[in-house]
């Protein structure tokens, strides 16, 4: 305990508390995935949970994403509330058939008879020198699929609070945890609990430009917004929180106030969630726009291993500052 009613916590610990809390609240909840038990999770999120809840509820699985995601879908159909952990979004592609063809469609295909109250957690993003097969940001792809929800908790509160709300949702929910966030430490309310998973949040208010982002780039963007004040640019930062369904209203509200929008997305630009947001701004707030919508995305190449190249490939606070300053130019 530090300040009144506040606790110091890491993102990893917040996520672990969220799982623990759910396991205690609801006996139907269980966690499964590669190395979640004895090893404590490859990002150590589930460390200690096997000892507390036993091998029935903290289940190590074979190395087959398709099999254990499918098992999760079956368990959800059977009335359980499974949390399935996939190590990284790159590996989730092995389970794409289960997620897209089954989890997202069974409610529809069964004429509304079977819900899939499944939660799948996975790590996403670059920044840890894990190269081109462990570092991509494919959450935007999943946001394309009707029938699932896509959450991207960036703050400690969201790491702590989104899981329970996701478990209560009758349909499949995917939670993308950015790999660089696990070690982030901060204070949250000691009694922090479930949060909504439908609204985007304004993390910083500003009047000159809306910086729209989510997940791993949120804090880089907030940092950039602070640096931009030196150039007299007062930036608003919108944390999307949920990529599907997109909270279009909050985005348009913000752009309507600032008249300028820059989208920061660690995914690749082509066919990305940033493209979708840009299109929605154009559709819904065209006559509010004073400058063309701008996007800052990752370089369209497989993620490099070398540190300096990886840093150069993804949006950074400095590149955000530079782009926004250029955009606003002489007329900020």
């Amino acid at each position: 305990m530090s300040a009144e009613g506040k606790v110091k916590i890491t993102y990893r610990e917040a996520m672990r508390q969220a799982i623990r809390d759910a396991m205690i609240r609801d006996q139907r909840v269980f966690l499964m995935g590669e190395d979640v038990g004895r090893y404590g999770g490859c990002y150590a999120v589930s460390k200690g949970l096997l000892e507390e809840f036993g091998p029935e509820r903290i289940r190590d699985t074979p190395l087959s994403e398709s099999a254990f995601v499918g098992a999760g879908i079956g368990a959800a159909m059977g009335g359980m509330r499974p949390i399935v952990e996939i190590m990284t979004v790159n590996f989730s592609l092995l389970a794409l058939d289960q997620i897209v063809n089954n989890a997202a469609t069974i409610l529809h295909m069964s004429g509304g008879q079977f819900n899939i109250p499944l939660v799948i957690r996975m790590c996403t993003g670059a920044g840890r020198q894990l190269a081109a097969q462990h570092s991509h940001s494919l959450e935007g792809w999943y946001a394309h699929i009707p029938g699932i929800k896509v959450l991207t908790p960036a703050t400690l509160e969201d790491a702590r609070g989104m899981l329970w709300t996701a478990l209560e949702d009758p349909d499949p929910v995917l939670i993308f945890e950015h790999g660089t966030l696990y070690n982030m430490e901060g204070e949250i309310a000691a009694d922090a609990g479930p949060v909504d998973i439908v609204k985007s949040a304004i993390r910083r208010t500003g009047t000159d430009v809306s910086l729209i982002t989510y997940g791993g780039t949120l804090f880089k963007t907030l940092q950039a917004a602070e640096q931009l004040t030196a150039s007299g640019i007062d930036a608003e930062v919108v944390d999307l929180r949920t990529l599907r369904p997109l909270d279009t209203e909050t985005i348009l509200d913000s752009v309507t106030r600032t008249h300028r929008a820059v989208i920061i997305d660690e995914g690749w630009r082509s066919g990305s969630i940033s493209a979708e947001i840009s299109a929605r701004i154009m559709e819904g707030a065209f006559y509010e726009l004073d400058l063309p919508v701008q996007r800052i995305c990752s370089v369209e190449a497989p993620m490099p291993y070398a540190k300096h190249l990886e840093d150069a490939a993804v949006p950074q606070a400095s590149s955000i500052v530079e782009s926004v300053t250029n955009l606003m130019g002489a007329h900020g």
Binding site: Y287, E288, L289, D290, L291, L327, G329, A330, H331
Partner: protein, 417 residues
Amino acid sequence: MADFLMPSLGADMEFGTVLQWLVKPGDAVKRGDIVAVVDTEKATIEVEIFQTGVVQKIVVPEGEKVPVGTLLAVLAVNGEAPAAAPPEAKPKPAAPPPPKAVAAPPPPPPVIAKPPAPKPAAPHRLHVSPLAMRIALDLKVDLATVTGTGPDGAITKADVERAAKAPKAPAPPVEVKPAAPTPAGAPAKPAIAPIDHHAAMRKVIAAAMARSKREIPHYYLGTQIDMSRAMAWLTAENLKRPVTERLLYSVLLIKAVALAIKEVPELNGFWIDGAFKRSEAVHVGVAISIRQGGLIAPAIHDVEKKSLSEIMVNLRDLVKRVRAGVLRSSEIADATITVTSLGEQGVETVFGVIYPPQVALVGFGKIVERPWASGGMVGARPVVMASLSGDHRASDGHRGGLFLAAVDRLLQEPEKL
């Protein structure tokens, strides 16, 4: 060498303002091409050229108001070598300079007399942010006067607000040329300060109508025409047509007038310099009222040779363009007789004023049901009052009467129109 002059776009036109040139020196033009947009006091007109050749020199720049007949541009007609090398003669800066290692390319071939006609330059389009556009409308800021500071000189909100706050320049006269690159917008929305068409048009109508009543000894004739056959035929005909191709009864009236006038040609033409000049072609001016007030009577050309469908297409197009304020010079200048139909306003009879130098105006009122005796029987028939205002210098009431009788006769055989 040929001169292109400020055309007379109506007998009442004295001056015209060149809003926009659609050609530049070196451009090849052919008869019928639209080469310039001219503002008269009545409307914005797309002016056609009637000679084929290559534009050699633009004499009157955009924005200038000049009297009718002023030399606007000089053409080199076909075969003629341009007197001096046209300014566009220098070759386009095509590819980037080749790397040094490569052998120098052969020198560009000398420019032959007739350079390939370059496409008319796309008019420079202002870059304005959607928000700035909206605010400019609200604040009534003329975007052509705003300096853009956004990306690539785009006009942003701040630019418009700055322009709105700036003290109004002491009423720059219309003739003043805008700074450096003329940011001419689309032809319909010229960047030059627009003329107040409404007031100007009133003035023009006043002048033309006063001249008409001062100079033209009008006589008036009227006759009721039984429209039952025409309307029955029209109803049946329209049932056969898709909605978009249906005919209005005015088309029947216009065609009947055009055919009847062939029988009484002294109603078709102009009274110029104390004599009647008969016109072979029948270009029927159709009076179209403008929503903001005023009217204009552009011509449908060669009506007697056109099918009803063609006339309908022309009429629709004219009405649309009158309302949009974009007419072509030939349509404005050369109507040989005018038809005005005030039926939509509920009027039964028109006593028209001739539009000089024409010599006749035909009016139609509303089609109304009236008791009609025919063959010893009385029945209700749709009836229209056709009237003729004739110039007594060019024709007499007797001939006018024959004309109205011919209109009547033609309308009894609508299938032949």
